[in-house]
């Protein structure tokens, strides 16, 4: 179990995760930097304050399970497990490189701390729900967290699991939605509107809470309070900004795809350091 990080420490970790992701994606010339930057504070809080995990024993049976279902945010997920101590940060240099094990979508093979491989959307929550059901029936203390994207909620498989988890009152299950308002081609609102999202979760038997997904104190308060209601799974709807932390990436679909050039990387890292 982690010692409780201060808010300054959480913000510092979030800056590190953003810097790692920028460097990794720029060097590997891969996509999805915007999706990494929006989820940085969520991951910093998860590993810094919430998850009961032990980097020395990644397979510890009583660990909390974190499933990163938005598998395209792979760079920052690897950075998060490295900063949490599951592997040396030097391994991040292999991201998306020939012969390495750090694929461009979250991969468990050969990467300690990664619970489940993702990349095709809509897989993480059903699997997390199965883990939560097994844990509940065993009377286990460990919990399941699934980090999801907003666009991912288009997938029907998620709503199958949302219906199931509500019905079965899996209050050991929490999802965190990185609601950055932009999906692959356009704004979420212009693609498939999710609102009123909290109402949807409530109607499905969940306990939703909306928070500022870049406010580490607000995220901590919400995540430390789960289950938000006994007998209901929790849905933390984290309002975020795609590309958060680099002004010229914020809110732009382009940065779902483009990798920063070496020059852009320098200014991006400077902005993150100053944030």
């Amino acid at each position: 179990m982690n010692s409780r990080a201060t808010e300054d420490e959480l913000r510092s970790v979030a800056r590190k995760l953003r810097s790692h992701s920028l460097r990794m994606i720029s060097q590997a010339k891969t996509s999805h930097i915007g999706s990494c930057l929006s989820v940085a504070d969520i991951l910093a809080v998860m590993y810094g304050r919430i998850l009961r995990v032990d980097p020395r024993r990644p397979d510890w049976p009583d660990r909390d399970r974190l499933i990163m279902s938005k598998g395209h945010a792979a760079a920052i997920t690897y950075a998060a497990v490295a900063e949490a101590g599951f592997m040396p940060a030097e391994r991040l240099e292999g991201y998306a490189r020939n012969g390495s094990q750090l694929y461009g979508h979250v991969t468990h093979v050969g990467v300690p701390g990664i619970e489940f491989s993702s990349g095709s959307l809509g897989h993480g929550l059903p699997v997390g729900t199965g883990m939560a059901l097994a844990g509940k029936r065993a009377g286990a203390k460990w919990r399941v967290f699934v980090v999801m994207s907003d666009g991912e909620l288009d997938e029907g498989s998620n709503w199958e699991a949302i219906l199931f988890a509500g019905h079965h009152q899996l209050d050991n299950l929490t999802i965190v939605i990185d609601y950055n308002k932009i999906q692959s081609l356009d704004a979420v609102d212009k693609t498939l509107r999710l609102e009123p999202l909290a109402d949807k979760f409530r109607a499905f038997g969940w306990s939703p809470r909306e928070v500022d997904g870049h406010d580490v104190a607000a995220l901590s308060t919400a995540l430390e309070a789960v289950p938000l209601e006994k007998g209901r799974p929790s849905a933390i709807i984290a309002h975020t900004i795609k590309g958060k932390g680099v002004s010229w990436m914020e809110g732009k679909v382009l940065w779902h795809y483009r990798a920063p050039t070496p020059d852009e990387l320098v200014t991006a890292l400077a902005e993150v350091a100053a944030s």
Binding site: P61, H108, F116, S117, G119, S120, G122, H123, L125, P126, V127, G128, T129, G130, M131, A132, L133, A134, G135, R137, A138, G156, S157, E160, A161, L163, F164
Partner: protein, 313 residues
């Protein structure tokens, strides 16, 4: 086969609390006893096959041995990517069970005809594909997949298939069972076609042909040695399956034989034509349209053998 499967699963669940059953809201008159006796090992996922497989994978990743159960294509094709990524890639200890393999739900419509499932499951890495030939093999196969640490696909017929084995034969995944030895021809069958192959073998034997009969209950990994020996030691090889001739048992045997040294026996795949059925019919009716009834199978084999003797003569 369905009955043999669920009875065996009940027994296994009595002894091992890790054994769980997740159904996709199907199994009326089949799963009730299991659900009643093992409420903590049973889940009805509802009509949601993608979630059914995801749940099963999640449960398995916490140490359970999880069977999923649905009919026809719902068990496999509806949730194919979940089977590939969640189960096979993670080597999750999930056993996907489909009842109604082939044309068992004949007159219910093409949606209910499971005619490509073996080909598709066979293509997945880490997946073991088993199509037991009779209720005895279904029982043995159920025990074997529980003992296997990893993914498996168990393809069953319905209820009431005839017994082919009088006693329990030695059973090992990946090791075919030779029920009858011979040198003129080999019949390699999987699933419910084993009973037809058995009858055809008896008829041909009565006509003084030396017939080898093989139950290839495990289609993947296929028993390459038994196929290779049949191709070399007997003059003809026939595969029989209630599945498309593309990619199933016939496809698997063809892949093995294609890489053998030249000079081996020719192969004829007897199975479903790779097309959607256009005519309504029950299982037996539709099978006869595909030439899978006993009489048609016999005729197909006799014609091929007669032609070869004609060439030799």
């Amino acid at each position: 086969m369905r009955t043999a499967f669920i009875q065996t699963l009940n027994e296994l669940a009595d002894r091992d609390p890790r054994v769980c059953l997740v159904v996709g809201d199907l199994g009326f008159s089949v799963i009730e006893e299991f659900a009643q006796k093992h409420p903590d090992q049973f889940v009805n996922a509802g009509v949601s096959e993608q979630n059914m497989i995801g749940l099963a994978a999640g449960m398995a990743l916490t140490g359970k041995i999880v069977f999923t159960y649905s009919i026809g294509n719902f068990a496999t094709l509806r949730c194919l990517e979940q089977i590939r990524n969640d189960v096979c890639y993670h080597r999750a200890n999930v056993k996907v069970v489909a009842v109604g393999g082939g044309l068992a739900y004949g007159n219910l419509g093409v949606t209910h005809h499971a005619s490509e499932d073996v080909a598709i499951m066979r293509a997945l890495p880490n997946m073991v594909v088993v199509a037991p030939g009779d209720p005895v093999e279904a029982r043995l196969a159920t025990r074997a997949v529980v003992a296997l640490d990893g993914p498996a696909y168990l393809r069953l017929g319905k209820a009431g298939e005839p017994l082919v084995h009088e006693n329990e034969p030695p059973f090992e995944l990946g090791r075919a069972i030779t029920l009858r030895d011979g040198t003129d021809l080999t019949l390699i069958a999987s699933g419910g076609m084993l009973a037809t192959a058995d009858k055809v073998a008896r008829t041909l034997a009565a006509q003084n042909l030396s017939v080898r009969l093989v139950s290839m209950h495990t289609v993947k990994p296929i028993d390459r040695e038994v196929v290779a020996r049949a191709a070399v030691e007997t003059a003809h090889v026939f595969t029989l399956e209630e599945h498309s001739i593309e990619g199933g048992l016939g496809g698997a045997v063809a892949e093995v034989m294609a890489e053998l040294d030249p000079g081996h026996a020719p192969l004829k795949r007897i199975g479903l034509r790779p097309e959607f059925n256009k005519t309504v019919g029950d299982q037996n009716y539709l099978k006869s349209l595909h030439g899978l009834d006993e009489e048609s199978v016999l005729k197909t084999i006799q014609q091929i053998i007669a032609r070869s003797y004609g060439r030799v003569g």
